[in-house]
Symmetry: C2
Subunit: 405 residues, 2 copies
């Protein structure tokens, strides 16, 4: 049994500890965390209104009806260097609902990118993100899934959630954002979105940390990830593989923050209908060069849902009055984007391209170039071309499995 | 005198409160905040190394010696939507020392931009920033100043700190980054940097939130802020004035995050000597257009330190061997930046330009166009051209005062 004196000492200790916690982590405020929920977005210009600077977009003539942002649901796959900042930007913009998917844990090795903090090391990324984001904006609804979307069961659940997880009831999300760092996860998202005719935006950052891109994919209307894979694979090797070999990809908070900025800016333009949505926007940090273009789908795409939607889209175009149809074609966008005379320049030589594709150069539609290649690993070099066929077969197996679920 | 029972209840209450604090704000970790200091940056690929992904820039052939980052000191003026993210990126990159200047308090109205959190409302921006940044990276040294640099006394102190505040002893900082939102503060930074021959980078975001820019200013070598003012003034009206009138500028976390990303990427390229430093990089979010160029200084610049340094720079060029001199000229950079056929397009009509300058179009050097204009306020409209002269005189008075200190 503790004495009064011992208890008094303990109370004092705890009070000090509590004070330290509050001071260190929250800046010594009154102890009330975050802010209260706000029923309706207001344009009122007062210091206490977290939406005044966003609602001002209406007065400035940029967005017709900013409040609509609360009606939208966005799924973010991958909550790492790009995905976490993407989630934070959308949260601060007051998006209706976010679905977050990731199976990784926060590590100190992630601290060279924005968002996560050292004291969160060891927590799952989705859990740590949800705690921080709820504090920033309690008006946003969150749904988090701490799993790898590429396993059979999880893929099925992922498909189910993006089809039915909308804030406004049993319907698909408005947009899926891919912020993953490996080929398999991109392929899984592509398969799911093709099957459901779901618009999504791909993003990626190169493993030397100084280039990145975003790419809008409208199944049937633009090239999907399976139509022209090398373009959208920042790196064929994921971080886990690299770490096993004792090396790791480089990354910078700048490049990742800029790519997240492009991704969310494009998301806002797409959802709130202002400015022009850019179908492909690249970023080369060394030269500050920003390639832009649009890509037609590949009629010989391996994904049967993609080719089916391509046919449907073409039929829809033909059924439309001529004027409307003209505005809708992707070719128009290509023309727009080329007004500045900008063309995508491959960062790789023809030789590197051949090496990367192991002699099997994919049949690309006109206008599609290769931006990134998968570097040769030691295993690739040992196995030569034979291994590549195996790789592709196992990928097809995976896809077949996914489709047969 | 409290009874044992009362004390036990109090202990329980405090323990719960402490747990809530930790869970809500820090994700329920072991209670040890942040991470320990690290003496030397290591390339080791382990989850616990916060620098592994940055040191990988060496292996990737991007940066020769990343560790040098610890030797640099950067001053950031303005810790708002752009400045706070700029400070966070540099902190995560492991910069040696940051000097932060701002006189504003965190408000809920700032929550539509990255970095600050609702529970920090009421704290000074520099204090809140320092608490968060120290937690993220305790290896960085911070020096914060909670004042307005444009008052006479503070301006003198500001000059003193950027001249003597380097991490490595009594010498100037390596770079000054301007992240302010008003004309007077930009002019004060320009005056200080011209007087001290200090390289700085200007940044700005338009008040409709959908465009921004960064601009490297090397006194004597490139145009300074006084050489061509309208180009670098995102808005002549600061937030305080707008708020008094019951309106406010719009802002987006995307545009501000992207501008901060460009600012820090350029800072890293300049300090660590990789890639090419872009002298002017603009961002138009509506069209995803990125104007780039370089600007020669105006030989008739009002700032006498600017014209003096221009002469010194020209003499230095003449004294150099021809090959070297060629590489150093700004004209070369103009040529490089125009390789893609990109030209800066004024966002304004000739008429708007005339209205903005109140009939007094500044004498701009060839190649310099106007990107932003100061919108006419009611006062401007009432006062017509006469008022403008007063404005300029009072600005000169201010400058004279600053110089005479």
């Amino acid at each position: 049994m503790a004495t009064v004196e011992e208890l008094q000492t303990r109370v004092k200790q705890l009070e000090e500890e509590l004070e330290r916690e509050r001071t260190r982590n929250r800046g010594g405020t009154d102890g009330g965390g975050g802010r209260k929920k706000i029923d309706q977005m207001s344009s009122e210009v007062v210091d206490s209104n977290p939406y005044s600077r966003l609602m001002a977009l209406k007065r400035m003539g940029i967005v017709d009806n900013y409040e609509r942002i609360r009606d939208f649901t966005v799924a973010i796959v991958g909550v790492g260097g790009v995905g976490s900042v993407t989630a934070e930007m959308l949260t601060r913009c007051g998006i209706g609902k976010l679905l977050l998917f990731d199976y990784d844990k926060v590590e100190l090795a992630n601290m060279n990118r924005l968002f996560f903090q050292p004291h969160q090391a060891g927590l799952s990324k989705v859990q740590a993100a949800e705690i921080t984001l709820r504090d920033i904006n309690p008006d946003v609804e969150f749904e988090t899934h701490n799993y790898n979307i590429t396993t059979v069961d999880n893929f099925q659940h992922f498909m189910d959630r993006i089809s039915h997880g909308h804030l406004k009831g049993d319907r698909p999300v408005d947009l899926v954002l891919s912020c993953v760092d490996n080929f398999e996860a991109r392929m899984a998202i592509n398969t799911a979105c093709n099957e459901q005719g779901q618009v999504w935006i791909e993003s990626g950052v190169s493993e030397n940390a100084v280039s990145g891109h975003i790419q809008v994919i409208k199944p049937g209307e633009t090239a999907c990830f399976a139509c022209a894979p090398p373009l959208v694979v920042a790196s064929g090797i994921d971080e886990k593989t690299l770490k096993r070999e004792g090396v790791c990809a480089a990354s910078l908070p700048t490049t990742m923050g800029i790519v997240a900025g492009f991704l969310v800016q494009n998301t806002l333009k797409y959802l709130l209908e202002f400015g022009s949505v850019t179908y492909y926007l690249g970023y080369n940090a060394m030269q500050d060069f920003f390639p832009s273009m649009a890509m037609k789908p590949n009629p010989n795409c391996d994904d049967s849902f993609c080719t089916k939607l391509q046919t449907e889209y073409q039929e829809k175009l033909l059924a439309q009055p001529k004027e409307e149809a003209k505005e809708e074609t992707v070719e128009e966008v290509v023309h727009d984007a080329n007004d500045w005379g900008i063309e995508l320049v491959a960062e790789t030589t023809e030789e590197e391209l051949k090496a990367a594709s192991h002699g099997h150069v994919p049949e690309l539609v006109e206008g599609v170039h290769v931006a990134y290649v998968r570097p040769m690993t030691q295993e690739d070099e040992e196995g030569a071309a034979g291994l590549t066929v195996d790789d592709q077969e196992s990928l097809e197996d995976l896809m077949a499995k996914m489709k047969s679920i």
